[in-house]
């Protein structure tokens, strides 16, 4: 067959390298350069987080005091001692996140249940999944513009314009996709055998969902909810012309229909003030906001990691 000849002929077409490593060959140098580049990328990528966190901790954390946490902010002026605090903003952030959660959790979990339990791969489900992805990509300021147009400018809610309710609604639009997605994915992970088992012993579909699948998916759904709330709590853009800003504490339920402050809007407003006292309040508010958000993030990580322990 003459295979020997063809083999050696083909072999001649290759450079015959020795097995001994040559650290200065072009190939090995390129390998080292790319590895180095990738290491540099990783280092550069974590520098911003380090810097932001340390500045917020140092500049924000150094002025934290009980007064700062509970007082109402005073009108802007260049006096650090009488600048007041960020109390109403902390309460406002919590209230509006809560309103957003109350609106979006039922809708989001319900929508997620529909996607994974009722219409697994139908065209309508595909359309809703697509819509959820698109909604997740809608810029947050658009949510604010939308709520402004249908709630604030129409004064549709008891004639009030800028209000905590409007702010919470804008935030709920941003939370919704996160909750739908995690519910959908959490339910998908529930093994089908359990569903068949439940239906097989005569449970209705409703009983099956409420007693079998939802409890199993509960942890992943709560992760989604926590992440959704965390995202909403840090948002500013949807609030700046829906909830606006206020310097005062909420005193009753009726205050929900008036302007309300939040940590994020406070940071935005006070960062742009020319006075150092207000800038300092903005740093302190950032400190509090970041502590809240990191706490929620760790909470969601903890929920996820404790899920994996429970294998079914």
């Amino acid at each position: 067959m003459g295979c020997k000849e063809t083999k050696s002929k083909v072999l001649d077409m290759y450079n015959n390298h020795s097995l001994i490593v040559n650290p200065n060959s072009k190939r090995n140098l390129l390998e080292k350069i790319f590895t180095l580049l990738s290491i540099i990328c990783a280092i550069v990528a974590i520098i911003p987080l380090m810097l932001v966190i340390s500045f917020v901790l140092i500049k924000g954390g150094s002025y934290i005091s009980l007064d700062l946490l509970i007082l109402e902010p005073e009108p802007p002026g260049d006096d650090l001692l009488s600048a007041g605090g960020i109390g109403p903003a902390i309460v406002g952030t919590l209230i509006m996140s809560l309103i957003a959660a109350i609106i979006s959790i039922p809708i989001g979990v319900g929508g997620g249940i529909f996607l994974s339990e009722f219409s697994k791969n139908g065209n309508f489900a595909k359309f809703i999944r697509f819509g959820t992805n698109v909604l997740a990509g809608v810029p947050s300021i658009i949510a604010g513009v939308f709520i402004y147009a249908i709630i604030v400018s129409t004064k549709i809610i008891f004639g009030s314009m800028f209000s905590a309710i409007a702010g919470g609604m804008a935030l709920s639009i941003l939370m919704l996709p996160t909750i739908i997605k995690t519910t959908d994915e959490g339910l998908k992970l529930v093994p089908d055998d359990l569903r068949k088992g439940a239906l097989g012993v005569g449970a209705s579909k409703f009983t099956m969902i409420t007693n079998i699948t939802l409890p199993i998916a509960f942890r992943s759904i709560s992760t989604g909810v926590v992440l959704g709330i965390a995202r909403a709590a840090g948002e500013t853009a949807p609030l700046i012309f829906t909830a606006l800003f206020s310097r005062y504490y909420i005193t009753g339920l009726e205050d929900l229909f008036y302007e309300m402050s939040s940590l994020s809007v406070l940071i935005y407003n006070f960062a742009l003030e020319p006075y150092e006292a207000q800038n300092q309040l903005a740093w302190s508010a950032s400190f509090v906001l970041i502590i809240i958000l990191l706490g929620m993030n760790i909470l969601s990580r903890w929920i996820t990691s404790s899920t994996t322990e429970k294998n079914f």
């Binding site: 067959m1 295979c3 020997k4 063809t6 083999k7 083909v10 072999l11 077409m13 290759y14 450079n15 390298h17 020795s18 097995l19 001994i20 490593v21 040559n22 190939r27 090995n28």
Partner: protein, 273 residues
């Protein structure tokens, strides 16, 4: 190749291509295989057989330093290729794999066209000849040219499992290694594809030293000239279960007809494994 005389084993004149010298391989703290001594001859087909968990694949992957990719894998002893210690610090594992090619258990073509699947390896190894010719001759030698010639630009994954595996063989042939390692190349294939691969192996042994891991004794009998039988035993020193070792290595017909060890006899007669 010769500028490192101390690494070169003195019995160069022999017909040995690969030699294991007291090789033990560990994954973290558990020993996969221990104290293997074995000389594998050139231009022959050698098969590694044994029950699952006996470390035969681990031993095979030690030959082209594929185990380097596994975290925590450590080799003691020495593996020689043409008299050179492959685990010496100044050996470039990339060059080792270029000279000792490998075909895997699962067919694993690249998600590229059939043509590119072959041209890629040749190109990165600095092939300077006519690429079309190389692709054709490699596919012919792997006996898959007829199936591929009209769809060289289609994805490698458009082929059937058996054809994919022969494409992978062609890809390995194209870089002109001296040794081809095959790790249970037929375990994912149907009997007809298996037969075709075996025919290909017969053709290839004219040019290459082939080492094949198989769990199929009939296959070892059909394709190989030499056979190494590995077994596993439980030991107290390794808490994670079994440790593999080489029981017997000889000409295939001797292993199958007149083995020296009782364990070999038991295994080939189907008493365990």
């Amino acid at each position: 190749m010769l500028h490192n005389k101390d690494k070169i084993k003195n019995n160069q004149s022999t017909n040995n291509c690969i030699s294991f010298e007291n090789v033990s391989i560990k994954y973290g703290n558990s020993v996969a295989i221990r104290n293997v001594f074995c000389d594998i001859p050139r231009s022959n087909v050698t098969s590694f057989i044994g029950p699952s968990g006996c470390g035969k694949s681990t031993a095979l992957r030690a030959i082209n330093r594929m185990n380097d990719l596994i975290d925590g894998c450590q080799l003691l002893g020495r593996v020689f290729f043409e008299g050179i210690d492959l685990y010496s610090v100044d050996i470039d594992p990339v060059e080792v794999r270029r000279k000792i090619g490998m075909v895997f258990q699962q067919p694993n073509p690249f998600p590229k066209s059939i043509y590119e699947n072959i041209a890629f390896g040749a190109r990165i190894n600095g092939y300077k000849g006519n690429m079309d010719d190389l692709v054709e001759s490699s596919l012919r030698k792997a006996a898959v040219w007829e199936e591929c010639k009209d769809k060289l630009n289609e994805s490698g994954y458009s082929l059937s499992g058996g054809q994919q595996q022969r494409l992978c063989i062609a890809r390995t042939i194209a870089i002109q290694p001296e040794v081809i390692l095959m790790d249970e190349p037929c375990s994912a294939l149907d009997p007809i594809s298996t037969l075709k691969i075996e025919e290909t192996i017969h053709e290839l042994k004219k040019n290459f030293t082939i080492i094949i891991v198989t769990h199929n004794m009939q296959q070892a009998l059909r394709v190989s000239d030499y056979t190494a039988f590995y077994n596993a035993e439980s030991t107290q020193e390794s808490n994670s279960g079994k440790v593999g070792y080489l029981v017997e290595f000889d000409k295939t017909n001797k292993i199958f007809n007149s083995p020296k060890q009782q364990a070999t006899q038991d295994y080939i007669s189907g008493k365990f494994g």
